[in-house]
């Protein structure tokens, strides 16, 4: 009797552990896949040009995607809930200009205050998106397409054709983008810190898990008593806030800012998130994945430049990468479903 019990317990334990390992593996498949793709690109390009495989170049790649990555963290949370924020480019552009313009007119303003201003402006713009989607029940793709143009228009109105250049702003502001800490550029550290903090929050807070739940099945979320409106408002607000912070960094990095800053950034951000394995229909994906997605696209961009290929290729390759990622996602989901079902029947 006792031996039977032990054996049952043992099998039980083993199947459970096996299940855990299997599922953990599958949820990493997208990220592992991206790492493999990344290594392949690195290997191929290194053979063509020796300048590619150098620490300096890697820093260059990370620098080029740091701002985009910060925006992608917010976009990931929005997409997890089955929505999308297309207005991020305009929000980055507007905060970049407004912050630079304030510094141009009031050079004494502390940089800290500028950061707070940028984040607050972004959060406000994001909250408008959130209210339209959550309370107005307008599909996010339409609502944020509207605010994409609206915010850009406002930006042009504020700028009135002027631009702020590097000579107009104090060096302490530009230092945000140029400082190194322990030899690593501050921009990269900002992006890494934000990604880590939000990845941790998504994992450990109820609200974080509720974003996944809402995207996975909105009806079930309602029945489970989750507050749809609050969660959606929260994600758009955070997306705006992170875009605002990214806008401040944009101003510091490029120094010369006009009303066209960060135009088209939204598509690069969505591309990075989707390539990073975040399901465009919500419910699954990680911030780590989105970061890897940004790195892969940044590496491709860098490689094309080094190989002296036309930039025209870049858009085509970005497009192909998105298609490949989404197709792969669909295939994995279907395979996983089959595997799980047959696993249960065994």
């Amino acid at each position: 009797m006792s031996t039977t019990t032990t054996r049952v317990e043992e099998t039980r334990w083993r199947t459970r552990l096996g299940g855990k390992r299997f599922v953990a593996l599958v949820s990493r498949v997208r990220e592992l896949g991206l790492i493999v793709v990344l290594l392949l690109i690195i290997a191929l390009v290194s053979l063509q040009t020796p300048r590619f495989l150098t620490p300096g170049n890697f820093e260059q790649i990370l620098l080029s995607i740091a701002i985009l990555a910060i925006v992608a963290v917010g976009e990931t949370m929005v997409i997890l809930t089955r929505n999308v924020d297309l207005s991020v480019g305009s929000m980055v552009g507007m905060t970049a200009f407004v912050c630079a313009d304030v510094l141009k007119n009031h050079p004494q303003t502390p940089v800290m205050l500028i950061i707070v201003l940028g984040c607050a402006l972004g959060a406000m713009l994001g909250a408008v998106n959130g209210l339209i989607v959550a309370l107005g029940r307008v599909p996010a793709i339409v609502a944020t397409l509207g605010t994409l143009y609206l915010y850009r228009g406002l930006d042009s109105y504020i700028a009135g054709g002027t631009q702020v250049s590097a000579y107009d702003v104090p060096d302490s502001f530009l230092a945000l983008a140029t400082t190194h800490v322990l030899g690593i550029p501050a921009l990269i550290l900002f992006a890494a810190a934000i990604a880590l903090i939000f990845a941790y929050l998504l994992r450990t807070t109820r609200a974080g898990r509720e974003l996944y739940a809402l995207g996975s099945n909105p009806d079930a979320a309602r029945l489970a008593g989750l507050h749809r409106e609050r969660l959606i408002l929260l994600t758009f607000l955070l997306s705006g806030l992170l875009s605002g912070f990214a806008g401040v960094l944009w101003g510091a990095r490029f120094a010369t800012v006009d009303s066209g800053a960060a135009t088209g950034l939204e598509l690069q951000v969505v591309a990075a998130v989707v390539v990073g394995g975040v399901n465009i229909f919500g419910g699954s994906g990680t911030i780590l994945g989105a970061m890897l997605g940004a790195i892969v696209l940044g590496t491709i961009d860098n490689a094309l430049t080094l190989l002296k290929l036309s930039q025209f290729w870049l858009q085509a390759i970005d497009g192909a990468a998105i298609l490949a990622a989404v197709t792969l996602d669909a295939l994995i989901t279907r395979w996983l479903q089959r595997r799980l079902v047959s696993g249960r029947q065994r």
Partner: protein
């Protein structure tokens, strides 16, 4: 007729004189229902008797127009599903609503995850507690598996575990066995017994009477939104219960006119579509109305879809005028003179923004077009003809169908299919959701069509309609033919026994 339950003095949850209407349709009339701790209370009734409305009121989805909802003797108002849950009421739906991307444990605890002192989710405790919960139910389920890919039975277990994790005192199971295998049903019942022992009050909604009598201590029968009886299960028999479910007046209905019944037009032999229906055979003659009765999910609509070429059968034959035919598409079906008026006229039968005339002539455009251009005078002439014959009221022919009443919309759908001049007409729930007056008129039209020689297959969930209109009644139960009655033989009880699968049990 109320018999007090033995267990406790105060019911855990109680409905007192609850009424609920949707527009002109009264779904519940002054219904009383009480649930005691540790009892399994079965709620039975025909399709449309008001069972799901009652469940939705208890679940906080709908609010009653009149009447009280009491929890432990105190009147409360449930404004949302979340409030119902907070009050200790959990619902297991026929189709579980879970998060496919998340694992079993997260599904159980979504919204009330255990947290540590810093407010972070305590994942280890969560997995451990869910595992213990499932073990206490005697269930082997891997808590790390995503819910995507679990069987319906396992998903229901996840929902039950979810209810228990919230200390639900009332568990409502809405047709929980509909998509389970017999083995899974046994397992589920074992768990229900355990829950009963834990003093959970369980409302078991079902139309499978054998399950009801296996499980329930009390039975409440609903009919037309009213409570007919509440009685201990020991004093009721399945036959009595069915009598309570169906006992309805037939007087108000339009009976079929006598029509000369001619040759066999349509014959179906051993038609099978795996998992949906099996070995269905029948004949349909000129001028005949063959009623197709059965409960929701018996496979009636599925047979109709195969006859109209929307789905394909895997085996069996369809004969038209004695010749075997292959119907691979609705276009084929129309060529053989078959017309199908689907159940959901909004989604499948009508284009609401088109005019009455355009809807009627939609399926015969080639006939009224010259050089591919629709001649609108011709269109209006044909439409006027059918609208007149069917007495469509409520507007000019150029008015959009959206503006018409449900009954008149249904007549337009009929007109559309009659314009194709069919020989075989399949009607799927032709009077659902239309008012009594319009119903009688639709019945008169169906009867006239049969008198003119159409062969009609009438699918209906309303027994009185089936009995009043049909020359013969074919009954299906879980995908099989479970009875065939002549007009003289058919009565509500016989048909209902066949529809619930009770008759085959006795004859076995």
């Amino acid at each position: 007729m109320e018999i007090a339950a033995p267990q406790a003095a105060v019911p855990v949850i109680e409905l007192v004189g609850v009424s609920k209407s949707f527009g002109a349709i009264q779904a519940l009339k002054e219904v009383d229902l009480s649930l005691y701790a540790g009892e399994v209370h079965a709620l039975v009734g025909e399709n449309g008797a008001g069972k799901s409305t009652l469940v939705k009121i208890l679940a906080g989805v709908h609010r009653p127009d009149r009447g009280l909802l009491k929890i432990n003797g105190e009147a409360v108002e449930l404004r949302s599903p979340a409030q119902a849950q907070a009050a200790g009421i959990a619902v297991i739906h026929q189709e579980p609503t879970l998060f496919p991307d998340l694992d079993v444990a997260e599904n159980v605890f979504m919204g009330h995850q255990p947290r540590d002192r810093l407010g972070r989710i305590d994942w280890r405790r969560m997995y451990r507690e869910v595992d213990q919960l499932l073990q206490s139910l005697g269930v082997e389920l891997n808590v790390y598996l995503p819910v995507r890919g679990l069987s319906v039975a396992d998903r229901q277990l996840v929902e039950i575990a979810r209810a228990l994790s919230q200390d639900a005192r009332v568990l409502i199971m809405d047709e929980p066995t509909a998509s389970l295998s017999p083995r899974e049903v046994d397992d589920l019942f074992g768990i229900v017994e355990q829950l009963r022992a834990r003093q959970v009050a369980i409302l078991f909604v079902s139309h499978r009477l054998e399950e009801v009598f296996r499980l329930a201590s009390r039975v409440t029968v609903l009919r037309d939104g009213q409570r007919v009886i509440t009685a201990p299960a020991q004093v009721l028999t399945p036959e009595e219960t069915i009598r309570h479910m169906v006992g309805r007046e037939l007087a108000a209905l339009f009976p079929k006119e006598e029509a000369a019944i001619g040759d066999v037009v349509l014959e179906v032999r051993h038609l099978t579509r795996a998992g949906v229906f099996r070995d269905v055979s029948f004949q349909l003659r000129r001028g005949e109305i063959l009623g197709l009765a059965g409960l929701v999910g018996a496979g009636r609509t599925e047979v109709a879809r195969v006859l109209f070429g929307i789905d394909q059968a895997e085996s069996g034959e369809i004969l038209i005028d004695g010749r075997v035919v292959a119907i691979r598409s609705p276009r084929d079906a129309m060529r053989y003179g078959i017309a199908y008026v689907p159940e959901d006229r909004h989604q499948q039968g009508l284009i609401l923004d088109f005019s009455i005339a355009k809807n009627i002539t939609l399926s015969i455009l080639q006939r009224i077009a010259r050089f591919s251009l629709v001649r609108s005078r011709q269109e209006l002439k044909i439409a006027a003809d059918y609208a007149e014959r069917l007495r469509v009221r409520g507007g000019r022919l150029t008015q959009p169908v959206r503006a018409l009443s449900g009954g008149n919309q249904q007549k337009v759908v009929l007109g559309k299919w009659l314009a194709t001049e069919p020989r075989i007409l399949i009607l799927d729930e032709p009077t659902r959701g239309i008012d009594i007056g319009a119903k009688a008129e639709v019945h008169r039209i169906i009867s006239e069509l049969a008198a003119r020689g159409l062969a009609i297959l009438l699918i209906s969930s309303e027994l009185p309609e089936i009995l009043a209109m049909s020359d013969r009644v074919l009954v299906m139960h879980e995908g099989r033919v479970s009875g065939l009655f002549s007009r003289a033989e058919a009565d509500q009880e016989k048909v209902m026994l066949a529809a619930t699968g009770q008759n085959s049990r006795e004859s076995r």
